[in-house]
Symmetry: C2
Subunit: 283 residues, 2 copies
């Protein structure tokens, strides 16, 4: 818990004590030092990093971001319904100078570990749920948990070997490629501007269609830590607190679909990657 | 089977007979009279209709398309990761003049019914698979099948009552909202230009963000049946034949992930909505 969260939690506790609304801690503010502002030619994207799950990848991504490594990089591999991948020119000095990372695809949990469970018997894992706003898989039989490849996550690309990721990254932009879970390192997720991620120029076309010239590849105008952005230019995002009872209530309601629109109720199951964790722009 | 398919099938049979490649019927050509060309300001989209599954919705959609009903309509409800919905101005004469449709959300199948099975024990249905390139759910216990809400399908919007769809339609643009399966009528899917569907201006923003002016809503420049488009301006699409043995072989391979990239193999399951049915532009 960072200072701002602690501050908010303290205030909210006081409000509850005095009988006021607990609305405030249904949301949590993102810490600027673990939030990224990506500026594309057509709009801004905010990414929440997940150092609590993928510490070494986040550490390297922050270091690279602050060194200006990503500024001017291109999205050179953009496949509709799959991924938008960016990084320095392959084999360039900027590319070769970055050290490789040991994969952080999953981690071991102990008996006290918990998360906000969404569904059992998901197609790819024994359980799925949220922790700190991130969608996770959890196999109690293995005592393992991991971040899921839901749409809008950011993960590090790699070669064939497990520990070969360095600085090239991708956003998932279509139906969750869950088969990549645990064998890639997801290290954050888009909390604002996913529409701009979706508008990144596709570099891959179907057979027989006109190829995209590399000059048209979407560039990264700037990649900055939000803490390095002047306060007036920041986009301050708050995200639903998936540990708050109100979030579990939302899940229970969503499972039942009480709205009259559902003249016939769907199966009482939830696809974790289709279950929203809402964001809002802070006042 | 339309004439062109029959023609191709005949040729291919001849080729097989003479020991040549059977590659040709791994693909099937789309019939122009059941294919739609949607022109957006930023690009063209091709939709394959599914009269074999949703005959009355397709019939009405073709009639409306040919009458010019959709030309100039706006995408007035566009939510990232969910749907892009368009139609005439609510309550306008053009809107009110369209008759409502009986829902075609699922249908009864007999003992001889078959499809290319992809997965059993999918989260939302007993079985899932493809038929004619479309992703279907199938519950043998009910003898029911239905079209799935995978990304890129087109379905008719409706009011709270089942049989209230008329002309407003939506494309799914994010993780499959499978909870809408069977209670909405899916009647086609995008086979070309999904990147342009993804670039439709979102009309919905998160709390605290700047609202989108309705003047910015993406218009439909033209909606035409491909058969009404001059031949030289057509986009002729071929789609993988999901009934061909080569498609089943692809599925089996995809389940096993033989590539060296998979240093650890994922669970041998397939998410139907993340399983591609490739398109190509015909020569």
């Amino acid at each position: 818990m960072n200072f701002k969260q602690l501050f908010l939690a303290t205030i909210t506790t006081s409000l509850i004590t005095f009988g006021c609304s607990a609305e405030q801690n249904e949301w949590r503010s993102l810490a600027p030092e673990k939030t990224v502002l990506l500026t594309l030619p057509h709009g801004k994207v905010v990414i929440e990093l997940a150092p609590q799950f993928s510490p070494k990848h986040v550490e390297q991504f922050i270091k690279l971001t602050q060194s200006g490594h990503y500024n001017g990089n291109k999205f050179y591999r953009v496949i509709d319904g799959f991924v938008a991948q960016a990084g320095p020119v392959d084999g360039s000095n900027a590319d070769k100078s970055v050290s490789t990372l040991k994969i952080e695809g999953d981690w071991t949990v102990d008996a006290n570990w918990s998360f906000t469970q969404v569904q059992k018997n998901d197609l790819f894992s024994e359980q799925v749920g949220f922790k700190g706003g991130f969608a996770l898989g959890y196999n109690p039989s293995e005592s393992k948990a991991w971040l899921l490849h839901c749409p809008g996550v950011i993960a590090m690309a790699r070669g064939n070997e497990a520990d070969t990721a360095s600085s090239h990254f991708y956003f998932t932009n279509g139906q969750a490629p869950r088969y990549l879970d645990r064998i890639m390192t997801v290290f954050g997720r888009v909390v604002y501007g996913m529409n701009h991620v979706q508008a990144i120029t596709r570099t891959s076309v179907i057979k027989g269609d006109i190829a995209i010239d590399s000059k048209e590849h979407t560039p990264i105008l700037a990649m900055q830590m939000m803490s390095d952005v002047p306060e007036l230019e920041r986009i301050n995002i708050e995200v639903k607190n998936t540990e708050h009872p109100a979030y579990s209530e939302m899940l229970a309601k969503r499972r039942k679909r009480p709205s009259a629109f559902f003249f016939k109720k769907p199966p009482p199951v939830l696809d974790i990657c289709q279950t929203p964790v809402a964001s809002r722009v802070a006042k």
